[in-house]
Symmetry: C2
Subunit: 263 residues, 2 copies
């Protein structure tokens, strides 16, 4: 079993939440990979540097200056602080972007309908074997959501996508190694709610398990709607591509929350 855990930048910015989360992560006994976002720190840094944050339809445009800030804050500050803290907890963490070891390649998102998101990466190729080598050497990858292109551009990339693509690539690498029993990757998205809730305002209304069948019903009944739909659709894509199960849970309860799996 390999666990791929994604944590948002917001949790990492709060010292108490970060410590609590990292202690849980450190306690996981199986080989594990951490994917982190950068949260508001990049926005704060952009403001301090007087770089304007441009948004199109609620999505950040990554111009050259913003890319440099993202690379500094996510790839440098946040990544190294997490690595150093995990080291004190007995985890032999190694921080990286997609460029380090060349394992996660992307293309700069093409301009579409006149909209240019700038230095944003759409993942094209993931080398799961690279991470397997590190894991086999007792290392725990800590991944900042930055990929790179064949031209050597660094590219800002959605952290949820980096986490899914990592889990899928690990599952594929294990299948290629010919050991089906090891093709056992669990992907966990940690966020600020207890999991998928049947009533978004009631943290106790947790849906413990979702399968393709119950998902169809939950959508038909209007219990799952809005922003949760793309999240769960993504989860099913990961399952179809060989990931064993996907968990959506609160960062202070990384073994809890909602499990999404094939029936």
């Amino acid at each position: 079993m390999i666990q791929v855990i994604k944590i948002g930048g917001g949790v990492l910015e709060n010292e108490v939440q970060r410590n609590a989360f990292l202690r849980q992560f450190a306690a996981i006994e199986s080989p594990k990979v951490l994917v982190h976002g950068g949260g508001r720190l990049a926005t704060t840094m952009a403001e301090r540097l007087g770089v304007e944050t441009q948004m199109i339809d609620g999505r950040r445009v990554t111009d050259k200056e913003t890319l440099d800030i993202v690379t500094m804050v996510y790839g440098g500050l946040v990544n190294k602080q997490v690595v150093a803290q995990l080291q004190t907890m007995g985890v032999n963490a190694i921080g990286m972007t997609g460029a380090d070891g060349g394992w996660m390649k992307a293309v700069k998102r093409p301009i579409k309908n006149g909209i240019d998101y700038g230095y944003v990466g759409d993942v094209t190729e993931v080398n799961g074997a690279h991470l397997r080598t590190l894991l086999n050497n007792g290392l725990t990858p800590v991944i900042a959501p930055i990929t790179f292109s064949a031209e050597g551009l660094l590219l800002n990339t959605n952290a949820d996508t980096v986490a899914s693509q990592t889990a899928i690539a690990m599952a594929e690498a294990m299948r290629r190694e010919g050991d089906e029993t090891r093709g056992n990757v669990q992907l966990t998205f940690c966020f600020e709610k207890a999991g998928v809730l049947s009533n978004p305002d009631d943290e106790s209304s947790l849906i413990a398990r979702i399968t393709p069948e119950t998902y169809t019903q939950l959508k038909a009944d209007g219990i799952i709607s809005g922003g949760m739909i793309p999240k769960i659709d993504n989860a099913f894509t990961a399952l179809e591509r060989g990931v064993k199960s996907v968990r959506i849970t609160h960062s202070n309860q990384i073994q809890g929350g909602t499990i999404i799996e094939q029936a």
Copy 2:
């Protein structure tokens, strides 16, 4: 043979010089390690952020804000840009600080005679076997001059020291592996001059080779003096601790310059 090459931040800030240097580095056929400084970029960033750079006797004091800037600029921006560029040159580069893989530990420099340099690291322990593992897997480490302490502090560390300590640890790791013939590490310091010059104003006055005997004579004759003495003393320390030879050369001529070796 393993080559450990140190390049200053100044060269990396200049696109033409950086490209020329990295192309030479990429062309080295033996396993290799790059250690880089950060140069003036951290100072520029501190100025933009309104963080005052404190100096004591010409040495930067690393307060908490400066440490964060150094971590962002050296560990994030410079490191990842070099890695991405090397990837386009066919080098499977992997960026790291001393915290990544926990391989270079330090202590925060103690306050002495009332002088507190802040978050500055004095190296205490280097795990050469970690870098050997990466090299054996076809990876090329690109090292930012940041170490970490047992308490999980990141620490700003002199890049020349990081390079020497890396070379010494690699030589020791190879000897421990019991293969004396592989205990063959060359350390190269690239800077803005052709090498050790007998006349500092004349780039053609290169001293091609220095041994302990000729060094004593060159110092007695006043030909080598000033800031070059600690550099060469450092080089001899590396030689005494198992490094085969040390080169001091211009960044545009990484196989040239002055070779320092035991007789």
